[in-house]
């Protein structure tokens, strides 16, 4: 198990060194794609369509594939699980900030699509407009000191038909979550390695190795499964998470506005006249 950690750390170090060299003097340019670059995309496996998660498998893995929490973290997790059973779950994502990495991959109930363009794989989610991952496949390394973000800095390369992705630079506040009610912030130094590949013509699997040394006692290997949909009704639709906290109303000047919803019995309740549908 320590060898996984050593080799992963070594990989991250080597990739950072590449970007150090480039930063030495020149301005780095993203070159315009040549026809050959577009042709290369046609040789990649077909990941077109919309991918819907296997939610029952996410739930199954909570028991079958337990997260190796550190003992002091396991205490917090046990408290969250107890609160959930008692019907008072802690809502980790009720503030509508992005689920972020790795939780988006781990717990989403919503569809996603993966787009191939020269030098990049882009993953777009649904339900929350901030679900966007850019995975650079143009051979660059990680920046030496990336600004921390919700989805981190991701670089990838193809090993035959498997996309191997390395992600660092995730905000320490981003949860490692196994449900919307159970999860712990990574607290910094999060490193995620993914191997994304088809397991059959219409099933995509993301094999994740989550290295979170501040909260996990060892790297956590787990997988998530997605099914391909081509029916047009599965086209990804826009989603703004915070929209659910507002009512559509009309102000005194006849303007269409969003009005924050107050709470009643702990739930948001619309007040005033019902808005347009």
């Amino acid at each position: 198990m320590m060898t996984y950690f050593r080799s992963s750390a070594a990989m991250a170090l080597a990739l950072t060194a590449v970007s150090f060299a480039a930063a030495a003097g020149e301005v780095e340019i993203n070159p315009p794609p040549a026809p050959a670059d577009w042709a290369k995309l046609a040789k990649l496996p077909d990941w077109s369509g919309v991918w819907t998660p296997k939610i029952s498998d996410q739930n199954r893995r909570i028991q079958a594939d337990p997260t190796p929490w550190k003992p002091e973290v396991a205490v917090q997790v046990a408290q969250m699980e107890a609160a959930e059973k008692a019907g008072n779950p802690r809502g980790l994502f009720i503030d509508c900030l992005p689920e972020a990495m790795p939780s988006w991959m781990l717990i989403t109930h919503n569809a996603m699509e993966l787009l191939f363009t020269p030098g990049r794989v882009t993953i777009l989610g649904e339900s929350d407009g901030n679900r966007l991952r850019r995975i650079y496949t143009d051979g660059r390394g990680h920046p030496a000191d990336p600004d921390p973000t919700f989805h981190g800095h991701s670089i990838g390369h193809w090993q035959k038909d498997t996309l191997v992705v390395d992600t660092i630079g995730v905000l320490p506040q981003a949860f490692v979550a196994v449900s919307e009610a159970v999860g712990v912030p990574n607290n910094g130094d999060l490193h995620i390695i993914e191997r994304i590949h088809l397991t059959d013509p219409d099933t995509l699997q993301d094999d994740l190795e989550i290295i979170a040394t501040r909260i996990l006692s060892r790297p956590w290997k787990t997988s998530r499964i997605y099914f391909r949909q081509r029916a047009r009704k599965y086209d990804i639709v826009e989603g703004v998470c915070l929209q659910g906290s507002f009512s559509e109303r009309v102000d005194k000047d006849g303007n269409s506005i969003f009005v924050p919803m107050p709470l009643s019995e702990g739930n948001p309740v619309p007040v005033g006249a019902s808005g347009q549908h």
Partner: protein, 139 residues
Amino acid sequence: MTFEFKMKRCVLGLALFAIGSTLASAHHSFAMFDFSKQVTIHGTVKEFQWTNPHVVLWVNVPEKPGEPAATWSLELTSPGNLTRTGWTRHAFAAGDEVIVQLNPLRNGNHGGALVKATQVKTGVVFNTNLRDMERPGLK
């Protein structure tokens, strides 16, 4: 479980019954519901909110012997997921008579996860079950 934010701006010209100054959140965990129980309510739609992260149907249920009138808050999944199971944003509107089957809130408040809703005037039944959709090539 819910966050409270100080509202930084005034709400224009509307009377609100705000409880403190709270920005309510609609993004709860579905763990708040008891999936081993089902309750049926019959009432009138107060509002149908077709937004992310969860579509919400509010239903006014009239007073019954031993039970005061109440507004129930029923949660569903996202509009994207619901569209795929036959819902539209016009499925329900304020004033519609509706019968709802739901998994109730564990804490006993008036709310739950919507299982099935019947638009009484047309008889159309709207279901929700993401677990039925766990395979590729759905039509």
